[in-house]
């Protein structure tokens, strides 16, 4: 705290007491909200026909977790999500590399149309692209989802890689050309490896977004994790809807937080300044916490 308060003087006893009181009040408000949620979930539900159902902490709302078939269905849904995300991620990186090369081509005949196509893809909702591939190319819902995610995220990764190349010192390219490499070889052997390395954390953050967006395939009817909420509550009964929903929510949160954490570790290990001793940062005007790398998302 001592380094962060440039704006005001170090708080005295009065200010500290006030901050303490505010803290206690907030703690109470949060506790009250949590208590209200718990109590209202625990209350029995009255249906439209006057019948009552037990509250959400009753075992009859959760006893599906003893059923093996239930977890098999959840596992299959999760595998469906991971399969779509995995294939789409590989394709997106390949497409992104392709886009970044075409976008920086020396002839305008290649560069200008690529720029227009990229702008078009970036301005489209992914869901519309999924519907387009599903209905116009009559692909199955799996491949419609994969290709829409691959093309959309490929366009974004292409731009990330391009800005990575643009951020390199000019001497890199000049040095490559000077030792007799062709422009293309310079791009491949000198510039591209450095750009990819510098941009790796942002690319991983984009892949987290891609994983999140696989949930869109729910709407076009692909059997991924989210689909299991409606499938399983249709099969086992409406009373399990919230339970399944919460389980799916926890799985998504765990996966994405894990990936974001990996992105942060990668950023520390490979990003600019990796391997050098870490210099303590100077205090920020306001914040007392460092900005996590995942804040540099290119698309939300």
């Amino acid at each position: 705290m001592s380094t962060s308060t440039v704006l005001y003087d170090v708080p005295g006893p009065k200010a500290r007491r006030r901050a303490h009181i505010v803290g206690v009040v907030i703690g109470l408000v949060v506790a009250a909200v949590v208590a209200w949620v718990i109590v209202s979930l625990a209350l029995p539900r009255v249906g439209a026909d006057g019948s009552t159902r037990p509250g959400y902490f009753d075992w009859s709302r959760w006893d599906v977790v003893n059923d093996r078939a239930f977890w098999r269905a959840i596992g299959n849904g999760y595998l469906g999500t991971l399969r779509m995300a995995g294939i789409a991620a590989v394709l997106a990186i390949v497409i992104g590399i392709g886009f970044s090369f075409l976008r920086t081509a020396r002839t305008a005949i290649v560069r200008v149309p690529t720029t227009i196509v990229l702008e078009f893809f970036r301005g489209m909702p992914v869901l519309l692209m999924m519907l387009f591939i599903l209905l116009v190319f009559s692909a199955g819902s799996f491949w419609a989802g994969v290709w829409a995610l691959a093309v959309y995220n490929g366009a974004l990764i292409g731009e990330i890689l391009r800005s990575g190349v643009a951020a390199l010192p000019r001497g890199q390219r000049e040095a490559g050309l000077t030792v007799g490499l062709t422009p293309l070889a310079t791009r491949f052997l000198i510039e591209f490896p450095q750009a990819a390395r510098n941009m790796l954390p942002i690319i991983i953050a984009q892949l987290v977004v891609l994983l999140k967006d696989t949930a869109l395939a729910y709407i076009i009817g692909y059997g991924e994790l989210l689909r299991q909420v409606s499938n399983l509550s249709n099969y086992y009964g409406e009373q399990y809807k919230l339970s399944v929903f919460l389980i799916v929510l926890v799985i998504y949160l765990a996966t994405n937080l894990l990936l974001s954490w990996i992105a942060r570790v990668v950023a520390r290990r490979t990003g600019p300044g990796a391997g050098r001793p870490r210099i303590p940062r100077r205090g920020k005007v306001f914040a007392t916490q460092a900005l996590p790398t995942t804040a540099i998302r290119t698309r939300e």
């Binding site: 704006l7 005001y8 702008e119 519907l131 869109l216 929903f245 929510l249 916490q289």
Partner: protein, 222 residues
């Protein structure tokens, strides 16, 4: 092309509903996001904790899951808006979901913009004898607002595209309208979907231009 002309009133209605979702979501998430950002920057630790948990939670949840929660689970809990027809009820729920989902991204945009101001600015202001209020209103905020505009416009462009997800949950916005139009004229899928794409570009491209323009106009020269 005739299918598009035939269904134009339907698509136009969907476009207006997309714009309405965008408008509500933008205003709501700007207010909520500013509040969350202020909490995250505040010197009171519990406020920061609440804001951090809120941000990380919503940012790591897929929007489809959020909207599914609002469209399916919330009515299941008996919390759906009452006294309106189901169309309006789903619209309200989707608007709330979009607002909640977008607000942490707005908050992060504001926070990163404020954090980007070099600490020397505040030090300089303090050392020439400006007080807290003067430092903030004369030195920090004028720079922070400029820095914050580009990331926030990015979030708003994403919001325009994200309204499409509501189409999967019983809201007849552009995607919902295009599905209805495709059901009516299955032979003209390509034309209908391309016209929907044009509607989206009609919002996102001007927003992108506005961003470039504002960025150039108010850039902080260093």
């Amino acid at each position: 092309m005739d299918a598009v002309i035939e269904n134009f009133p339907l698509l136009w209605g969907g476009f207006l509903r997309t714009l309405a979702l965008f408008g509500i979501g933008a205003v709501g998430s700007l207010v909520l996001g500013t509040l969350v950002a202020a909490m995250r920057l505040s010197p009171v630790a519990p406020m920061r904790a609440v804001a951090t948990v809120y941000t990380e939670w919503l940012r790591n949840t897929p929007l489809t899951l959020v909207l599914l929660g609002f469209a399916v689970v919330v009515p299941n809990l008996g919390l759906a808006p009452r006294g309106v027809d189901s169309q309006t009820a789903f619209f309200i729920l989707a608007a709330i979901g979009l607002t909640l989902y977008t607000s942490p991204f707005i908050a992060e945009g504001i926070r990163s913009g404020v954090n980007a101001i070099p600490v020397g600015q505040a030090e300089a202001a303090r050392s020439i004898g400006l007080g807290f209020g003067q430092t903030l209103s004369e030195v920090i905020l004028p720079q922070a607002i400029r820095m914050v505009i580009p990331p926030i416009v990015n979030v708003l462009i994403a919001l325009v595209k994200n309204t499409s997800v509501a189409g999967g949950f019983f809201v007849v916005e552009l995607i919902g309208a295009s599905r209805a139009a495709i059901n009516a004229r299955g032979d003209q899928v390509l034309a209908i979907l391309l016209s929907v794409a044009v509607f989206y570009l009609a919002v996102t491209i001007p927003l992108g231009r506005l961003q470039t323009y504002v960025e150039k106009r108010v850039a902080v020269l260093r």
